[in-house]
């Protein structure tokens, strides 16, 4: 493991004076060559045997297990026993009840505060924690939500989010604490948490629904399962990353284990803790719309209902508050994290620090809440309302009318989609399906081993094999072909935009808010306009995936290129390299780790949306999950969900350089 982290360091040293980037490549290739040779030998021995036993390209049916019988029985058992078995009545029932009571409490509090109180409270908190600019953003965001006629749904979503984030943070922190203190637990939890972070949220829905039924408890628990892992991961990393010198000093002062934890390790890890909270919030918010498929209500449900009647405008009016909420929460927690990092900047008049100001914030909020109530309705006043649905729909119509087909020279979007499907998706799918299954396993093994260790290769191969065993090889290859096609498009566009953005500050400044919005916009909102432009099928699913994954790829690329050692750039420039030469021979090779990370992130995000693409004709695994959810068919939905999990695992392992995983390990 530790040797794998060496190449980038070597590369940094050599890359500067040898712009060819040769030595590293050669080193990597030599080691890679050895691995490939070993694999080839193994393949040469195994393939004839395997081929003799099970001829044909598709996964042999002798090696599959049919789970539909037992899964169907499980599902029936749960439905029949949900109201009397002790497991439900004495345990899960209380869990669900606690969720209902907590969400209700927060919701009633928010309603009691009224629009004036909530707006004032959130703005003041944002001001205290993150400064006046973010406070202004918060103020505007809440007012916009009200003006769009979304006040009550926004409050419902907010109530759900508050409880979900609190529960995720508590659960995540406890898990992280345990993993941070115990080496063995850390080893067990780490791969689990790493894996959970790459799984599409869609895969979690069905089991939760089956146990808890449609409704807020199910939605909230699915959100917690999705949002807690980053908190746990970062808490554990933070605790383990504490400076050993400081810990040594503290224990030499005679501190007990608990004192050491409370006074040294936790405070030292607060940056990671806050980053964890920030990530948890963002993950929870990204679940808002997906969770509405299982009864989360609030803004997500509005988006979902509007899409059912093909009303992009109405969907957008519900999506805007989600985006604004996400931006405010992200900036607030990020700013809080940054401030804690640099305590000196918080200096101000004495009255602005300490408990007084918080009393002031509370008092002012209460006062404004009261004022709001006295002036009239506690809910948003009906007269202050702007309808954006109509203009948005008109715009969508116009776009579709003018772009769908018959545009001179370049052809319409529908024609592109058809070409994309016929020339890229179909050959890719047919190729993957026609490739013998052991061939696929070998390719996966080779890729994963080249980029990682034999362990990652083994995980990837086992994940793929599990897909075959579950009997969903064919649809999985279909999904895989969509992921690969969308990934290539995403990377081409993303690297291009990233290179431009890293070269021009102004371009980056224009790009930034666009990326923010793209990243937080619920994926569902893209689906319908995408269908209108690209027709039903796999092409719109791929298009939505590209749109969703682009921002992360652009960001990581830009950052990676920016962080290239200026000395290396300078020396290249002094040698008379042109802009293009510098980019190709210095910047890109040096930014290799960042580019690999971009590929990894891109693949994870693309998979998540390709799955949701089942709703617009993407077919394959995504469609099976949707069908499973919609028809309560556990066997179909769960098997597809597990296959998605395996596919995600494989794709992550194949694209994740081991180096990234070892950074935290050193602690």
């Amino acid at each position: 493991m530790s040797t794998a982290s060496a190449p980038p360091a070597v590369q940094r040293g050599l890359g500067a004076d040898a712009p060819k980037a040769g030595p590293v490549q050669a080193l990597l290739e030599r080691r890679g060559l050895a691995k490939l040779l070993l694999l080839a030998v193994a393949a040469a021995v195994l393939v004839p045997l395997v081929h003799a036993a099970w001829p044909g390209a598709a996964w042999p049916s002798a090696l599959t297990i049919d789970l539909s019988g037992p899964l169907g029985k499980t599902s029936d058992w749960i439905i029949d026993n949900r109201d009397n078995h002790w497991l439900f009545v004495y345990f899960l029932g209380h869990l669900s009840n606690a969720v209902v009571i907590s969400v209700r409490a927060v919701y009633l509090l928010l309603l009691a505060l009224g629009w004036a109180g909530v707006t004032a409270g959130v703005t003041l908190i944002a001001w205290r924690v993150a400064g006046w600019r973010i406070a202004a953003t918060a103020l505007v965001s809440l007012l916009v939500s009200g003006v769009l006629g979304m006040w009550v749904p926004t409050m419902q979503t907010l109530a759900l989010m508050v409880v979900a984030v609190a529960a995720s943070v508590v659960v995540g922190a406890l898990l992280g604490l345990a993993a941070g203190l115990s080496e063995r637990l850390f080893r067990i939890l780490r791969p689990v948490l790493d894996t959970m972070q790459v799984l599409p949220a869609f895969a979690y829905l069905l089991p939760v629904v089956l146990i808890f039924g449609i409704g807020v408890p199910a939605a909230l628990l699915a959100t917690v399962i999705y949002a807690a892992p980053p908190m746990a991961r970062l808490t554990a990393l933070g605790l383990r990353g504490a400076d050993p010198g400081v810990l040594e000093a503290v224990s030499s002062l005679g501190a007990t284990g608990r004192q050491r934890l409370l006074t040294a390790r936790l405070p030292l890890a607060r940056k990671e803790l806050l980053l964890g909270v920030n990530q948890t919030i963002m993950m929870a918010l990204s679940m808002v719309v997906i969770a509405s498929m299982i009864g989360a209500a609030g803004l997500g449900d509005r988006v979902y209902q509007a899409l059912a009647s093909v009303d992009v405008g109405a969907a957008l009016s519900a999506a805007i508050p989600i985006v604004l909420l996400a931006i405010v929460m992200d900036r607030t927690t990020a700013a809080a994290g940054a401030r804690i990092g640099a305590t000196a900047t918080t200096a101000g008049p004495a009255w602005l620090r300490g408990w007084q100001v918080w009393t002031g914030v509370t008092a002012l909020t209460a006062l404004l809440a009261l004022a709001g109530r006295l002036t009239g309705s506690a809910v948003w006043p009906g007269a202050w309302f702007v309808d954006i649905a109509h203009p948005v729909n008109d715009f969508k119509e116009w776009m579709v009318d003018h772009l769908y087909s018959g545009v001179p020279v370049i052809g319409g979007t529908a024609d592109w989609a058809a070409h994309f499907t016929n020339w890229v998706l179909n050959p890719l799918r047919d190729g993957l399906t026609a490739l013998p299954w052991y061939g696929t396993l070998l390719i996966v093994a080779a890729l994963a081993w080249l980029i990682g260790t034999w362990r990652t290769a083994l995980t990837a191969v086992l994940a793929m094999a599990a897909i075959g065993v579950l009997g969903v090889w064919k649809p999985s290859m279909n999904t895989l072909s969509q992921v690969l096609a969308a990934l290539v498009v995403t990377l081409v566009l993303g690297f291009g935009a990233g290179i431009l953005a890293s070269g021009s500050k102004r371009f980056e400044a224009i790009l930034r808010p666009v990326l923010d919005v793209m990243q937080t916009m619920p994926q569902f909102v893209y689906l319908i306009p995408v269908v209108a432009l690209f027709a039903v099928g796999r092409a719109p699913a791929a298009a939505a995936a590209v749109v969703y994954a682009l921002p992360a790829v652009i960001r990581i690329t830009t950052q990676g290129l920016r962080q290239v050692d200026p000395a290396a750039m300078e020396s290249a420039r002094s040698l008379g390299a042109t802009r293009w030469q510098m980019l190709r021979q210095v910047q890109l090779p040096l930014a290799r780790p960042a580019l690999l990370l971009a590929v990894n992130q891109g693949v994870v995000l693309v998979l998540a949306v390709v799955i949701i693409g089942g709703l617009v004709g993407g077919g394959a695994l995504g469609y099976d999950v949707v069908t499973g959810l919609a028809t309560g068919d556990l066997a179909l939905g769960l098997v597809a969900g597990v296959a998605i999990v395996c596919l995600g695992l494989m794709l992550d392992r194949v694209t994740q350089p081991t180096e990234r995983r070892t950074t935290g390990k050193g602690a």
Binding site: A98, L307, A630, T631, G632
Partner: protein, 330 residues
């Protein structure tokens, strides 16, 4: 430092709330099938929760019922969007009180109405539903022969898309809808590929797109549906629906080879609600209208751009004679 403490206190308070509510509930049994939504009846009034399905016809039922319950009977109405089969489960658990339009789910009916008795049948809603295969009128006018399934193979090549490959495309909608199309295509030896749009929204968008271009298409569709007013479609005659065929189909769904039946759409109530639901339950039991009524509301929602509530109000203002008879007698 104080800020950190406050932040910590805030988190602790939240965790405390959760723990407290957990302990509040943690004595004795907690039957989660009897728990309502946390957002229900926040105004402390009488409340009803209705299930809305994804298609617009169902939304119209709910919109009008909601409007009348709120404005005539003083209820607070919550709506939950759920797919058909999960809605039965939610209804059985009391998460929703009523389904106003069901297209026939014999399995669920047996389990919940006959065996568990947690759901009570509520009679028809007055609308008759029919599922079938449809082609656009502009195409059928030019080629009248395509409205017979025997001739479908002749035009399969006109219906090719990039998704259906070298076969014709038969477009299906949401996976949750009742469909035998795959079995039909196989058993009638049609050179077609069933392409699932994945959701009704996607299917409608695609149909509108085809219609705009006056392109031929073949789609799974159903009546009553507002889209007929925008895109006139003609049904393709499939082999006649018979009881014998239906019986064969219940035994083995793969063997079905005849058209879809015509279904009187049914209402279902949570048993508890049906017994103790007061005037709301009485009102919903009386709720019964016609295809035209439903389409009027559906169209103003889906293509008139009105919100469900506005559309319901418009219909209610126009047709007092219909809904007056639904109100329970005092």
């Amino acid at each position: 430092m104080s800020r950190k403490r406050t932040a910590f206190l805030g988190t602790a308070a939240l965790a405390g709330t959760v723990a407290l509510s957990l302990s509040l509930s943690a004595c004795g049994k907690a039957d989660m099938t009897k728990q309502t939504s946390p957002f229900a009846a926040a105004k402390g009034s009488k409340s009803v929760t209705l299930s809305v399905q994804t298609w617009v016809g169902a939304q119209s039922n709910v919109a009008v019922a909601k409007y009348l319950l709120e404005h005539q009977l003083g209820y607070h109405v919550d709506t939950v969007q759920v797919d058909e089969i999960p809605a039965w489960d939610a209804l059985s658990q009391g998460r929703v009180d009523a389904i106003l339009e069901d297209w026939g789910h014999p399995d669920q009916e047996k389990r919940y109405v006959k065996d568990k008795k947690t759901i009570t049948a509520g009679g028809g809603n007055g609308v008759t539903g029919h599922i079938g295969w449809y082609v656009p009128k502009y195409w059928a006018d030019k080629h009248p022969e395509i409205t017979d399934w025997h001739n479908l193979n002749k035009v399969a090549n006109q219906l090719r898309t990039s998704e259906s490959g070298n076969k014709g495309q038969l477009m299906d909608g949401s996976p949750s809808y009742v469909t035998n199309d795959k079995a039909l295509v196989k058993n009638l030896h049609l050179n077609y590929e069933v392409v699932f749009a994945g959701s009704e929204a996607a299917q409608i968008t695609q149909i509108q797109q085809f219609a705009k271009e006056k392109k031929p298409f073949l789609t799974y569709w159903y009546e009553p549906q507002w889209l007929f007013n925008q895109v006139p479609m003609v049904e393709v005659k499939l082999p006649k629906y018979t009881d014998a065929c239906a019986e064969k189909g219940t035994k083995d769904p793969q063997s079905i080879d005849c058209a879809y039946p015509t279904t009187p759409l049914q209402k279902y109530f949570n048993t508890n609600f049906a017994k103790n639901g007061g005037s709301a339950a009485a009102f919903l039991k009386n709720f019964k209208w016609t295809k035209d009524d439903q389409n009027e509301v559906s169209e103003s929602i889906a293509s008139g751009g009105l919100s469900a509530d506005e559309a319901a109000k418009r219909w209610v203002d126009k047709h007092p004679d219909v809904w007056k008879s639904w109100l329970p007698k005092k």
